[in-house]
Amino acid sequence: MSFELLLGAWVATGLTLFIFTFLYQDNPLFKLAEHLYVGVSVGYTIVKDYDLLVRLIYEPMVKQGDWSLLIPLGIGTLMLARYIPKATWLSRIAFAFIVGVGSGLAIPRIISSFILKQVEDTVRPLVSIVQGGPTFTYNLLDPTSNLNTIVLLIGVVSVLFYFFFSIEHTGPVRVAARTGILFLMVAFGAAFGYTVMARMSLLIGRLSDLIEYADPQYGRASLWLGLATVAILLLWNVRQREQPPDKG
């Protein structure tokens, strides 16, 4: 196995274990790993940023002669005027351009995608037409059955009623809103179940890597570093207890 792969396994294992020490207590190993994480992430962003500047601006402008890119370059530079106290107002022009274009692009697309299309699918026929005439399908396991269409319609309407706070929730509105709450509770329960699944998957992923790095071909990195981490934590704990408490 190459030295880079072996060193990489030990570094990855060590950093993973340092982060996990937070489960015991906030400690210097965790803080070290945490700050290193932020530093490496920022460094990565900076490098990619520079690479983009070259690929998207320098090369098209200088090598291919596309000088129209001076306009967005100018607008982007205006954004940086934010750091000059007397020229902060210049950055507003840049933000106004970005936000204006962004809002304009978003409005018709969101209306089409998330309002019209979603309402269209909610108001589907409540009976099906087959050769013999209209029929009512009630297979709960088929999301497109007529029974489920009715349940879906009731769910959408009642939840929309619940969130409409401009009118008082009394009488029939109260019934609709209370029905909405029941639908909401089931949906939040499902969301919690899925969130648990997602979080556990992340842990399974990290532990799978730690198990892989406990292999002899990686020098049993997980085992040795695990022991070292526990030893450092215990030492730190003892030192914390021995230090006198701060006065005042």
């Binding site: 489960l23 015991y24 992430s41 990565y44 962003t45 990619k48 983009l52 690929r55 998207l56 090369e59 098209p60 274009v101 962004g102 692009l105 978003a106 697309r109 969101i110 089409s112 995608s113 998330f114 299309k117 979603q118 269209e120 699918d121 999301p143 879906l152 949906a187 499902a190 969301a191 899925y194 969130t195 648990v196 699944m197 997602a198 979080r199 556990m200 998957s201 992340l202 842990l203 399974i204 992923g205 990290r206 532990l207 799978s208 198990i211």
Partner: protein
């Protein structure tokens, strides 16, 4: 403090230990329980399976290293199927921190399947903008990405021949970990450029994508590690995702037991308080 109260205020590190053990043991000693495939995962698989050879398939890996355990296995399974079907694969990402992972998965699977960059697949990398980037790709793919990730001019690549805009792409799958993902691809992409769209996502955002699935705006959804495991079963290559399902079972049941215990202790405390007040 009585027993129920003491149990409810137990040191949380004991709970951490329980979860750690429930995750570790099944990974070390797997059982291999059967996995049922859901219709939403089958939707993505069957659509790719039906694509003729040479079709253009765009895989947008919109996630960062935090979501690697759930979405990396999905990417591997999708790429294996796409390369086996001899589709022309375009890889990219809308998330800057995920660029390295996306590059790694494409290179790794392509090498495994004997595919060549520029001829069978292209990795475009990342470009800022998400929504505006997708619109730009929909208007002119070569303007959005004048070069691929390695600096090769995209106009000269054989794999992109005949593909001018997103309208020429046969199927787009976005593997999403949050905003700038499937919804972005629909709103700024499919709504105007009318390509077929499928999705893969983390378990956290999966429930929120069911309205799009039901309305046909996406034709399939691979949800979380479970979805990745189902996909591995479908393509007949069971790997990390399937291996993780036993641990998933154990941890879910651990949480269910913890929640039941919490409610039992809470009921006991409430009953003893009511009895105390009655006296």
């Amino acid at each position: 403090m009585n027993f129920a109260e003491r149990m409810l205020h137990i040191d949380r590190r004991i709970i951490f230990l329980v979860i750690g053990v429930c995750t570790l043991l099944p990974l070390l000693y797997p059982v291999g329980l059967a996995i049922k495939v859901s219709p939403e995962v089958r939707g993505v698989h069957d659509y790719i399976e039906a694509l003729p050879e040479g079709s253009v398939f765009l895989l947008s890996m919109d996630y960062d290293p935090a979501s690697k355990p759930e979405l990396y296995p999905q990417a591997v399974a999708l790429l294996r199927q796409a390369f086996r079907k001899n589709l022309r694969v375009i890889g990219m990402t809308l998330w800057l921190p995920g660029t390295g992972l996306a590059d790694q998965v494409m290179t790794q699977v392509a090498r495994e399947m004997g595919k060549v960059s520029g001829k069978d697949y292209v990795f475009l990398g990342w470009s800022p903008g998400s929504g505006s980037l997708i619109i730009n790709m929909g208007q002119d793919l070569y303007k959005a990405f004048p070069t691929d990730y390695y600096g090769q001019p995209t106009r000269e690549l054989a794999v992109l021949k005949g593909t001018q805009t997103l309208r020429d792409v046969n199927y787009v799958v976005s593997l999403a970990a949050g905003t700038s993902g499937i919804e972005t691809w629909y709103v700024y992409g499919k709504d105007k450029y009318k390509f077929e769209l499928g999705g893969g996502c983390t378990g956290v955002i999966a429930p929120g994508l069911y309205p799009l699935l039901r309305s046909g705006q996406i034709n399939g959804l691979i949800g979380g590690l479970r979805g990745a495991a189902e996909y591995e079963v479908l393509i007949g290559q069971k790997e990390r995702a399937v291996a993780g399902m036993d641990a998933q079972s154990a941890t879910h049941f651990a949480i269910i037991v913890l929640v039941i215990l919490c409610n039992v202790f809470y009921l006991l405390i409430r009953t003893s308080r009511k009895q105390g007040e009655a006296r």
